[in-house]
Symmetry: C2
Subunit: 260 residues, 2 copies
DNA sequence: GGTTGACCTTGACGCGACGTCAACGTGTCT
DNA sequence: AGACACGTTGACGTCGCGTCAAGGTCAACC
């Protein structure tokens, strides 16, 4: 039997057979006078056994180990381990499909590509043409919802809901304007303290807790939802010094409030 | 923000970020004076969106296409296609686990590594120390069962059951000896015809049908169980000319029998 | 005898999503 | 001044083969 016949008999490509020779998974058979490989029935049996196990998902390295010491004992162990791996993979795929389904459902009702209608509403409410701060806030919220997955996003939407009510919203947009006005100001500008106080008044206790929880110093380890914290520094880096001062004073006020 | 902070914030490695730059999935940000990449919040948002989709299993090429034209329409198509792929993969894994479970169950009761107790019985019954023919038969059966999967193996066991009964078995082993005796004989040896007749007498109708079905010429396409046919030639190649003559006459008799 | 075409040989690159190492520059702390 | 953590580019390794490339072998047909 030549290599093409062997491959056809077992149902693989000749490349596969040569690959198995190359990695030592199948022994090289004797050669004919012209250099062609000459296979016997026993080679076909060996190849079929290899394929039988490979189809199940064992790696070729594992196969070589298993077939080397034809023990049958550690083969069972390997197969059980493989089954556990496959089970884990099944769960992972199921989880992916669940997230996918949630995403698709939200894409059907929502306006944007990846967010729910609720999230789209929040972002629309916070938009204020030409405001750098509104844009920053929107980016932070988008980031939080993209990183937390579906449950993270709905948590964000839930937290932000109080801010989207019409009367509250108008005051919030005014705060954006006042922050924007501080763009070129000094960190000691008299408007800073008052603005921080007004901002704190707009932030609910739940929002304050979430913000503080996710901005703890690295030693404590972040929450599972937003993995890397230090978003405060990131955010501050996008502001001018006066605006960053407002942010610092705001966080101080929030920490005082939650510690009481 | 430098690359390490960005990576920590989103929860990936710096290598991943640079990889995304390299393949054009994320735009290269501005550089600081020292050559370091300088990231803004918007970059973190883009990266988080990429990861959100990548976690679902989209390839980076697909991601680039999707994010290029931020349409939202073909994104849904891609996600639905992805869901279908994942569903297929789930089925494939389930099938693998089913075969694995069958194999494990058989390994628990069987003697050998990969076969059921029934198959082990058949092979033990057909063993005859020093007989080349018994060995060939065992190899053929092993090959058939390894290639057909669990259902193929049980089919083989079912087919061979009549041969494993004690009185039939003794006659079969005698046939092996007579075949072995023909090793150095001439193809025209007078014993050939009688041996073919006796062999035909030992083969049940079901076995004859299976043998003929799986030895049709390549034009007709083999059965789904044993993919490559022409096993007859393979088998004949392992014999001497007189033994091959017996095989040819045997197949002729079987064909006559099933055509009536 | 020449040609075609199917088969065989070895050798090498490609894929996908990064991990990992090399060799080097930069910035901060002691 | 040295240690150390970070950044830079570049290149190789992973896994199971598919797919050329550049030939040699053999049977069949003109």
């Amino acid at each position: 039997m030549r290599i093409g016949e062997l491959a056809a008999l077992v149902g693989v490509s000749t490349r596969t057979v040569r690959h198995y020779h190359h990695i030592g998974l199948l022994p090289e058979p004797a050669r004919q006078a012209n250099g062609y490989r000459e296979y016997r029935l026993a080679d076909a049996v060996a190849l079929a056994r290899v394929r039988q196990l490979a189809r199940l998902g064992l790696s070729l390295d594992e196969l070589r180990d298993v077939l080397a010491d034809d023990d049958g004992r550690d083969l069972r162990e390997m197969l059980q381990e493989l089954d556990a791996d496959l089970a884990r993979e099944q769960e992972a795929i199921a989880a992916r499909r669940a997230r996918l389904a949630a995403l698709l459902a939200r894409a059907d009702e929502g306006s944007g590509a990846l967010m729910s209608a609720g999230m789209a509403d929040v972002l629309r409410g916070l938009s204020l043409d030409g405001s750098r701060f509104a844009e920053l806030d929107r980016q932070m919220l988008t980031l939080a919802s993209a990183m937390g997955g579906p449950e993270g996003e709905s948590a964000v939407v839930e937290l932000m809901r109080p801010l989207t009510e019409p009367d509250t919203l108008a005051g919030g947009l005014d705060l954006y304007r006042r922050l924007d006005d501080l763009a070129g100001a000094d960190p000691d500008d008299p408007r800073v303290a008052g603005l921080a106080a007004d901002l704190a008044g707009h932030i609910t206790d739940a929002m304050a807790s979430a913000m503080i929880e996710n901005s703890r110093d690295p030693a404590a380890g972040g929450s599972p939802v937003t993995d890397g914290d230090r978003w405060l520094e990131t955010l501050a880096g996008e502001m001018t010094s006066a605006q960053a001062a407002v942010l610092r004073q705001l966080m101080e006020r929030l920490r005082e409030r939650t510690s009481c």
